[in-house]
């Protein structure tokens, strides 16, 4: 016998559940269009339908030329960050019925558009690379030993480890928009991940801090928390940057050492 819960379970395919939504989608092919424009699509939605589902449905059923980058569809790969109703979000992690009607979908602001919702990510990857986001231990462990990390130290970097390089935070950051030498929030959060890792050792930690203290480094953060607000993984790059800035200044204040 079916339980009450089972009988009440919503079925995505039932007609009663269906509603329509309007999507206003940014369209632009730089080689063909004089300027970008918005195209309006009406689609039938279902409970739990994501903006990515909607865009794929449009591509499959209405306009096969609509271009969007996506892969995992589960907020893990970071490839489908777009600008939905004025906020940087992952299309696969945003439900159509949550964001209001119409749903306006644009590419990530401050990134160059390759086609429709697909943006050029190379400049973002260069920023990420500028903070040397790889493990650089001061010393090799003894033969047969491992690089050991204490559970407390691991917990310290837990908060920033979830970054999926989607670029949402960097797109939302105003200093990153105007200052190409500023690594931006994603890169600095990644720098924090290594800066805090005790396995690298004191020498590397100091070198990293010195590098981040460059004239267009950590001190450029305006503490606006835009990056923190839009991060789909709940990371707060602002807090990581502020912690590094405070550490750097504290080291300067201890000038007698």
């Amino acid at each position: 016998m079916a339980t009450t819960e089972e009988t009440q379970k919503p079925d995505a395919a039932t007609a009663t559940d269906e509603e329509t939504a309007t999507l206003e989608v940014f369209r632009y092919v730089p080689e063909e269009d004089d300027e970008p424009y918005f195209e309006t699509f009406e689609i039938e939605t279902f409970e739990g339908m994501t903006v990515l589902d909607a865009l794929i449905k449009i591509r499959d059923e209405q306009d096969p030329s609509l271009t969007i980058r996506h892969s995992c569809r589960m907020a893990r790969c970071g490839s489908d960050a777009v600008y939905i109703n004025g906020t940087q979000r992952l299309a696969c992690n945003t439900q159509v019925r949550e964001v209001g009607d119409p749903v306006k979908v644009e590419p990530l602001p401050r990134f160059d558009v390759i086609r429709d919702l697909v943006v050029e990510m190379n400049e973002f990857y260069d920023r990420m690379e500028s903070v040397e986001p790889w493990f650089q231990p001061d010393h090799e462990p003894e033969t047969g030993e491992e690089y050991l990390q204490s559970p407390e130290n691991r917990r310290n970097i837990d908060t920033v480890l979830d970054c999926i390089w989607c670029g949402a935070c960097t797109s939302s950051c105003s200093p990153a928009a105007t200052d190409s030498d500023f690594p931006g929030p994603a890169a600095l959060a990644k720098a924090y991940r290594f800066y805090k890792d005790e396995r690298e050792g004191e020498e590397t930690r100091k070198r990293r801090l010195e590098m981040l203290e460059s004239s267009h480094g950590i001190y450029r953060c305006h503490t606006q928390f835009n990056c923190t607000e839009v991060c789909p993984k709940g990371i707060s790059p602002t807090e990581a940057i502020m912690e590094m800035s405070r550490d750097a200044v504290k080291e300067k204040l201890r000038f007698w050492r």
Binding site: P175, S180, E213, S214, S215, R220, L253
Partner: protein, 144 residues
């Protein structure tokens, strides 16, 4: 990222924040005195001289009739610090915003020296006005 190490960026960042906090206090005091105790419409040369030279704050405005006789040096220090901190905080803030524009980075040196010289000139101007309230210096600065 520009990896050119900076010896001053950290200190400047710290000073920008420290002066920001200090300005909240100093501007709060300034507004309380000028706008809530004395009242902008009731500021005269005489009562300004009283405040600056004797620390005597008197008024009958938003907060009712109030008389505060604070040590003169405290009032004078608050005025000079307000002048210095607001110049540093404002000028360094604007300089930084300009330096965050890629198109302006090539003018970094001239802009830096312009802001340093302009800030010092503003501070000297402010100090001259301040000194003009004290008798031996009356002649230094005469806005007429």
């Amino acid at each position: 990222m520009s990896t050119k190490p900076s010896k001053t960026a950290g200190w400047n960042w710290f000073l920008q924040r420290a002066t920001g906090v200090a300005l909240v206090v100093l501007l709060g005091f300034h507004f309380a005195v000028e706008h809530f105790i004395v009242g902008a419409h009731h500021i005269t040369a005489e009562n300004t001289v009283e405040r600056i030279t004797h620390g005597l704050i008197q008024g009958d405005h938003v907060l009712g009739q109030i008389t505060i006789n604070m040590p003169a040096f405290l009032y004078q220090a608050s005025a000079i610090l307000l002048l210095a901190f607001s110049i540093f905080h404002g000028m360094y803030g604007v300089y930084n915003i300009l330096m965050e524009q890629d198109a302006l980075k090539k003018y970094r040196q001239p802009l830096k020296y312009f802001f340093i010289v302009f800030s010092i000139a503003l501070f000297i101007q402010g100090v001259l006005i301040f000194l003009a309230f004290f008798e031996p210096f009356w002649e230094i600065y005469d806005p007429r």
